[in-house]
């Protein structure tokens, strides 16, 4: 499903953290949001996913207005996300973390859950199976029973992706999925995101790793100080003088260039 952001904005104490940002993320594509620290990327995610209430603009999923819906209602419409500052459940095992992502598919009622009746156990068994499959996909199958509090930063980043995937989402917002990952892990995350988009999901990505962004994005939106300063394909963005001035700089442009020819 396509995600349309139309003139969205929010102010904190008179400062416009996000100001009149519009773009459309299409199914089967990776749309990346880049920009310097403090540009409002994560705030934009929080607006889109219902964590903050937008003071201006609309969010639409396949043309349907979903502006102002609470986070759990957006999740029910197929939106899932990961978090820049990690929001895992540290006291649960990796498996339980991902199983929690199955919440919306679990058709059990409270009474069955309290009495340990058939439906509760069947749903739990089913969630366990799909959670294991997702952990496998994220390369974390061996850590399934490890408490999340004992996992590394990079592993937790992937744990969040696995948890978002099992929700059965059609729109996936990824906030710096490769942060804290080494080169090999980054490559794995890269492949995983590619595969997710190939399934026809709409992927929106915030990432600082320019090589990764240029490699997997179909469409890039550049933010600076809360405003959109450029938008287009990787080729356009790499050579856009505004983007180079505001964000990429000489080094970043070289990195992006290197990625293009890699």
């Amino acid at each position: 499903m396509s995600l349309e952001i139309d003139g969205i904005g929010i102010s904190f104490g008179g400062i416009k953290a996000v100001d009149d940002v519009s773009f459309t993320a299409k199914p089967g594509e990776v749309t990346s949001i880049i920009g310097p620290n403090g540009a409002g990327k994560t705030t934009l995610f929080n607006l889109v996913s219902g964590v903050y209430a937008a003071s201006a603009g609309r969010v639409r999923i396949d043309g349907k207005d979903v502006t102002g819906l609470p986070a759990h209602a957006l999740a029910r419409r197929g939106m899932a996300r990961t978090f820049q500052n990690l929001q895992v459940f540290p006291q649960m095992s990796a498996l339980d973390n991902v199983m929690t992502g199955c919440h919306m598919q679990e058709k059990s009622n409270l009474l069955a859950d309290l009495l340990g009746l058939g439906p509760a156990r069947r749903e739990t068994d089913r969630s366990r199976a799909s959670a294991m499959a997702a952990l496998e996909r994220a390369g974390l199958a061996e850590l399934a029973h490890r408490p999340a509090s004992e996992m590394s930063y990079g592993q937790l980043k992937r744990l969040e992706i696995a948890r978002a995937l099992v929700t059965g989402c059609t729109i996936l917002l990824l906030d710096e999925p490769a942060a804290g990952c080494n080169a090999v892990e980054t490559r794995e995350v890269d492949d995983l995101i590619h595969a997710i988009a190939d399934e026809g999901k709409t992927v929106v990505l915030i990432e600082h790793d320019m090589r990764m962004v240029m490699r997997i994005s179909s469409h890039i939106v550049v933010l600076d100080q809360g405003r959109k300063i450029a938008e287009g394909g990787p080729e356009d963005i790499r050579t856009d003088p505004h983007v180079i001035a505001a964000y990429l700089g000489a080094h970043g442009a070289a990195e992006a260039e290197a990625a293009a020819h890699a």
């Binding site: 899932a80 929690t100 340990g116």
Partner: protein
Amino acid sequence: MAGQGTTTDVAPAGTGRREYSKSEGAGRRRIGPGLRTFLIFVALVALGALIFPSSYFYRVGTLVWINTLAVTGIVVLLGYVGLVSLGHAGFFAIGAYVTAIGPNYGIPSPLAMAGGVALAGLLALIVGRPILKLSGYYLAIATLGLGMLIWMVLSKEAWLTGGPDGMVVSGMNARNLFKMVGLSLKSAEAWYWVAGLVAAIGAAIAVNLAGSPSGRALRAIHDSDVAARSLGVDVAKAKSRAFVISAIYAAVAGALLALANGYITPDTGGFMHSVEMVTMAVLGGAASVYGALVGALILTALPQVLTVFADYEHMVLGGIMVLTMILMRRGLVPFIADLWNRRKS
């Protein structure tokens, strides 16, 4: 920042975690975690019955199980979801008083008991929605206020509740329950078994909940409110459910106390009783039903052993709370389990 304040880190699921992960491997052939907990509790009830030398011990034992049941409700609320209530004695007292008042108006005890439990649950449902929007200290204060209100009604409405002097509870004797199945027990023994079995059922239900879809959602809220929402968990609804469930635990425990003691006073709904329940949970380890049992056992048995304790009850409760927080924040059961695991490995 959103949601950071809603959860408290009073009680990370230490032993609880192991409990859940064990249950993961259990297929159809092995007994489920709920049933296993039930059987362990029943074995402990039986163990008490085997070693108790007098009715006095049975009476203390009955109190231990009643408190375990009430504290299991706190475990669901505080240990699973991370919400602090300082007003649960109010729900406890509603269960107790409705059970006591019913027979005076011709309502048989079992029906009055059910009514009391239903009333507590309903009140939790109605009051829960607005006050559960609060978090952390604010929620603690709001629940404290709720408990105070209930306590005041019980103390002032003497025509109904006997006022500060309390009231006699007439009606059921557990002995008759056992007579029906051909067992002849002394009254104290009969109440001990009833309280023990109900606590065992309560523990099994709490363990079932922890490993179920609803339970995972609750534990998710404990760790990250924002993430739980992003996975489609209706946080307000889940919190409300947990609040109602824990109120029902307290009310059932209150009803049992009224019947077993045959006498109740407004103190059952007092602030100190709420604090006592939370202290039991925190001392034992709020994340597991075994923590509830250990906390209830220690804080129920201790005043009996040290009669001097009675004069300094508030000080000792406060002291235990402070020491638990400093020395073993997750409570006694997880603390000992950790020591044990470290020794083994």
